[in-house]
């Protein structure tokens, strides 16, 4: 139990403890910034950033991304630093818990040998949906529900209902 290495990763935290600590982080974020935590604010800006270099004309002309590249700094926002923080925090945590392992995970429950396709398609759906709702599970679900917003509760409701339904179609492989 006391030995932590690649073959014996530390146990996950109790959900109540993790939830309280996540609540403290979320509350602190509201106190410091006036808004909550997020993720797709950054991936949208990252998309605009790639577009600015790869397809500058089309990106500038785009109704959705054009505004973000107007001043040439689509990544210049608090959310970018926050997501860089998420990556670093997760890396530190995984490292000290002995949980860093390069692998293609999720094959058993999520498509077996076609796991790369389920990952790509799932990401595509989530990326598209987060732009319609103007937020994701963190930005609209978690943060929106903490301020008791109707949009936050509505998002969480359909998120769970459709997730429950969609997971019925993912068959488990042995």
């Amino acid at each position: 139990m006391s030995q932590k290495n690649q073959h014996c990763p530390a146990p996950y935290w109790n959900p109540l403890i993790a939830g309280i600590l996540l609540g403290i982080v979320l509350l602190s974020t509201f106190v410091v910034t006036g808004h909550g935590l997020g993720a797709t604010g950054f991936t949208t800006r990252l998309t605009a950033w790639f577009g600015m270099y790869l397809l500058p004309v089309a990106t500038n002309a785009n109704d959705y991304l054009g505004g973000m590249v107007e001043e040439g700094k689509p990544l210049d926002a608090w959310i970018s630093w926050q997501v860089v923080g998420v990556a670093l925090g997760a890396l530190v945590s995984a490292f000290f818990a002995g949980r860093i392992a390069v692998k293609l995970d999720g094959k058993r429950f999520l498509g077996g040998s076609s796991r790369p396709l389920t990952a790509l398609f799932g990401g595509l759906l989530a990326g598209f949906g987060a732009r319609i709702a103007a937020g994701c599970t963190s930005g609209l679900g978690l943060s929106g529900a903490a301020v008791l917003s109707l949009a936050g509760f509505t998002f969480l409701g359909t998120f769970f209902a459709v997730g429950l339904l969609a997971s019925r179609f993912m068959k488990e492989e042995k």
Binding site: W13, A18, L37, T44, F109, F155
Partner: protein
């Protein structure tokens, strides 16, 4: 700069807690939808209730100005439709946007592929934006952004209801975990 430091520190704590909770693991995350691992609900409900009650207290003592907090606008059709897409993406892909970053940092290649998918989904959205722009403002509730406003009740009563709902989620979840294979541990492949 304050922006950089606060982003890195708050984001860092967010990522650390998500990883410790096991939310970089797609098998654990999707266990919520198979109803065998209720960690996602337990952690989210606890955090939401903690932050909501915390904000109420900090507003009452005058430390936080409730009016200055960002409350997302009530485009409920857009929120519902977007939630449906993100929910399907989560069930099929194994992550939500934030947790895919956590998964990638613990070495999961599938999380990296999910992130590429996220960017592709954003490109598709931006590409057809003129024809679907109306979806982003679908179903507006003009007279209320929050549940207390809509129902004309105090935030305190909603908070109390949410605490009770959270207790219910823990009870139901733990019971269903006992009846099934139970939560995914960090030792499982």
């Amino acid at each position: 700069m304050g922006t950089i430091l606060s982003g890195l520190l708050l984001g860092g704590a967010f990522g650390f807690v998500l990883e410790r909770a096991g939310f970089g693991n797609p098998n654990k995350l999707t266990g919520q939808f198979r109803l065998t691992d209720w960690s996602v609900f337990k952690v989210m409900f606890t955090a939401i209730v903690f932050a909501a009650v915390g904000l109420l207290i900090l507003e009452k003592v005058g430390f936080v100005d409730g009016g200055s907090l960002f409350v997302p606008p009530s485009f409920l059709g857009a929120a519902a439709l977007g939630g449906a897409f993100v929910g399907a993406g989560f069930a099929i892909g194994g992550y939500c946007p934030g947790t895919s970053v956590v998964g990638l940092m613990s070495g999961r290649m599938d999380a990296g592929i999910f992130l590429i998918g996220l960017l592709l989904g954003t490109i598709v959205f931006a590409g057809i934006y003129p024809s679907i722009e109306s979806l982003t403002t679908l179903g507006e509730i003009a007279n209320a952004d929050s549940l207390p406003e809509l129902l004309s009740v105090s935030s305190l009563s909603i908070d109390i209801a949410m605490v009770m709902a959270a207790v219910g989620v823990f009870a139901l979840g733990s019971w269903m975990e006992k009846k099934s294979r139970g939560p995914v541990s960090s030792q499982e492949i």
